[in-house]
Symmetry: C2
Subunit: 414 residues, 2 copies
């Protein structure tokens, strides 16, 4: 199939593009490299030394004979995006091209506004481009389990049957997102559902859990294909951060009591889930929601697992509870359904099996690149303005939203 991967230079996007290419699909990457720019803004870098996309794509073609097409530009620029859709003619579009870090969206007002405008406008543009030029193309959109929050009832996959005062309906599952970023995905979900209804588009919303790991079969082929591994407080996800902390002998930083329960999955399952969605498209007019994770853990459980894994490697690992920079329940009920992708054939990788190989060993391997000053949380949900990241000058810190707004401005003023 012809599959366009928007945001294909990012963490999940890069692994997905290679996986689909390896499987014989015709793949195009659409990206504007802004993810790399945010590293500069924050004064951080991925633990793994990633190459330029041009180099990555050349090495991939040399190794496999597969060519991945590249379209460089911003999805908030409609002329650019719609020309990509027309030129490439995808049968499926996998949409990762959003600002995806909750702490980034909570830095200050500009970052909150940037995140919501960037994500919502990019997705609106994509919906219009599909409506106008590829109405039968299947939209595979990355959502997040964070859209649901932590309700005191079981979380279903997108919809819930509600019986109320003697009547019944199947309605969208109520949303209680926990950051301006997570809220942007809630907004997207509502917008996409509406477009499926009015235009008969077909869409799958993948409410993904927290992804861990960096190794997939494809990136393992050559070091030039290595994927990102973010561990900083803004873009680093909890498990990656713990592993890096363990590798440098820092205590693992558990936010608050650590009873925050979330869904998690291995990056190798992310790419397989995307393939499953692509191969089993939603019907015309269908807005389908899958919960995309394989296991649920509390963040304290994860710390204890990393502690145990560290012990096997001869590392002394301490666990420390620090004040939670987020506003969230630190102990709560959590039971989220995630059977639809399993029913379609997903065979999960379990964390217990991959913790050492795909996480601890990567952290140890690139230990020299770790900047120990980047792990402690600086972005507090309770503040309207959080200071620029350490190591980044105020000027640099402000540049992300500025530069990235250019695309959005252009398309609205032209």
């Amino acid at each position: 199939m012809r599959v366009a991967v928007l945001g294909g230079d990012g963490y999940c996007g890069w692994a997905t593009a290679l996986y689909l290419s390896k499987k014989g699909h015709s793949v195009a990457i659409v990206d504007n490299f802004i993810r790399r720019q945010w590293d500069h803004e924050l004064g951080v870098q991925t633990l793994t030394p990633i190459r330029t996309l041009a180099e990555r794509l050349n090495v991939w073609q040399d190794l496999t004979g597969q060519r991945i097409e590249l379209f460089v530009g911003d999805v908030t620029d409609y002329d650019f995006l719609s020309s990509c859709i027309q030129n490439f003619g995808p049968e499926a579009v996998v949409h990762f091209a959003e600002q995806r870090a909750a702490p980034y969206s909570m830095i200050d007002r500009k970052h909150a506004v940037f995140t919501q405008v960037n994500n919502v406008v990019g997705t609106l543009n994509l919906l219009y481009a599909l409506r106008e030029f590829r109405p039968d193309c299947h939209l595979v959109k990355l959502g997040t389990m964070g859209e649901y929050g932590t309700p005191n009832i079981d979380i279903e996959e997108g919809y819930i049957t509600i019986e109320h005062k003697g009547r019944k309906d199947v309605l969208p599952y109520p949303k209680q997102a926990g950051s301006f970023y997570h809220l942007s995905k809630v907004h997207d979900s509502h917008n996409i559902m509406f477009c499926c209804k009015i235009w008969g588009l077909r869409a799958t919303d993948l409410n993904q859990g927290v992804v861990y790991g960096t190794i997939t079969d494809e990136v393992a082929l050559d070091e030039a294909l290595i994927n990102r591994f973010d561990y900083d407080e803004v873009f680093g996800t909890v498990l990656n951060r713990y592993c890096v902390e363990a590798a440098v002998g820092m205590p693992l930083t558990v936010y608050g009591k650590g009873g925050q329960t979330r869904g998690f999955l291995d990056l190798r399952d992310t790419v397989r889930c995307i393939e499953i969605a692509v191969l089993n498209p939603a019907g015309r007019g269908e807005f389908r929601v899958f919960n995309q994770f394989t296991e649920q853990f509390t963040v304290l459980q994860l710390a204890e697992m990393v502690q145990a894994a560290g012990r096997e490697l001869g590392l002394e690992v301490r666990v420390e509870h620090i004040p939670d920079p987020r506003v969230e329940a630190e102990e709560h009920y959590y039971n989220a359904k995630h059977s639809k992708l399993i029913e379609l054939g997903l065979k999960p990788h379990l964390l217990s099996d991959s913790l050492l190989d795909s996480l601890m060993n990567i952290a140890l391997c690139y230990r020299d690149r770790i900047d120990a000053s980047k792990m402690m949380p600086q972005v507090n949900w309770r503040n309207a303005r959080n200071a620029p990241r350490p190591g980044a000058s105020a000027e640099v810190a402000a540049s992300g939203p500025q530069l990235t707004a250019v695309g959005a401005n252009k398309e609205r003023t032209k």
Copy 2:
């Protein structure tokens, strides 16, 4: 109390500002006159000949001795908005300053993007301005009953208790909005709920039904104070349109079968509801939702009421069913709760009592200003691009979003 009315030059905003001023509150209007600009874009005008805001405010002061302060600018410009909040120091902010027409948001991609960016960014800016400068100020936000859509169960006021698999929680009522405009209000509601949680802000979301009428005690004092009366297919609401159609002897244009049921209220109840909300503020951290309407009707019932009222005035009124330009259920269950404002003291005006005075007579009085070419729907939900309004050149039709994006751009590139 000190009350800022954002969007105070618009239909509901103007009536509200005068009502609160008459009641002895210190009122400020914040507006950028964009509502008047949209009339130019669409080549339409309000049935009633409204004056400039400067003239309106002078006449109001001459008649009542009450001065209403004026801040001219765009709420998507944070420097402007936050300086208003700091300078005026409101105890309550009533936020009407959004693009409020579903058909306008469905014209094409630019109008959809404009509507969502304008509404979401304006509200985000307001939330940040309150957090930074007036954290105890009560936000009274205009939402819409259209956020709920038409579920097959009773609609509650903002939240619903859900029992599911032996557990129970009170969760935000599921949203199924029917246009990019209605979706923008859904996005706002989610954003506001989150800010109440993380920052302890106090907010009331008024999910308003369709407002009708133009006469309030205050605007009736002098013709220079007259309020808008929109009847065109984009900004005109259904009942106003019917009355105008009756006045010029056109058939009433019922969309589809006409079984679309909605909540309605008299403009005199809108202003009273706002006052009730302002006088009974939400608690710190509370996100409160009131359904603000007084009666529910199908659009066919309304047509029949206008037909009967026309007969009393000696008018021959025909009812015609035309294809529904919207994608919506034309027959459905609808039972929406609306008791919270009644419990706080609202005494509804009933449509049957005001139809002749506040609607039919206004339509007849300004009959000479009616442009009969503006009533038939040109904006179809099924199209990605709808033609510019008749009478407006393509260039003019595109100018609304262009001009208004300037504020949004400025704040993101500075």
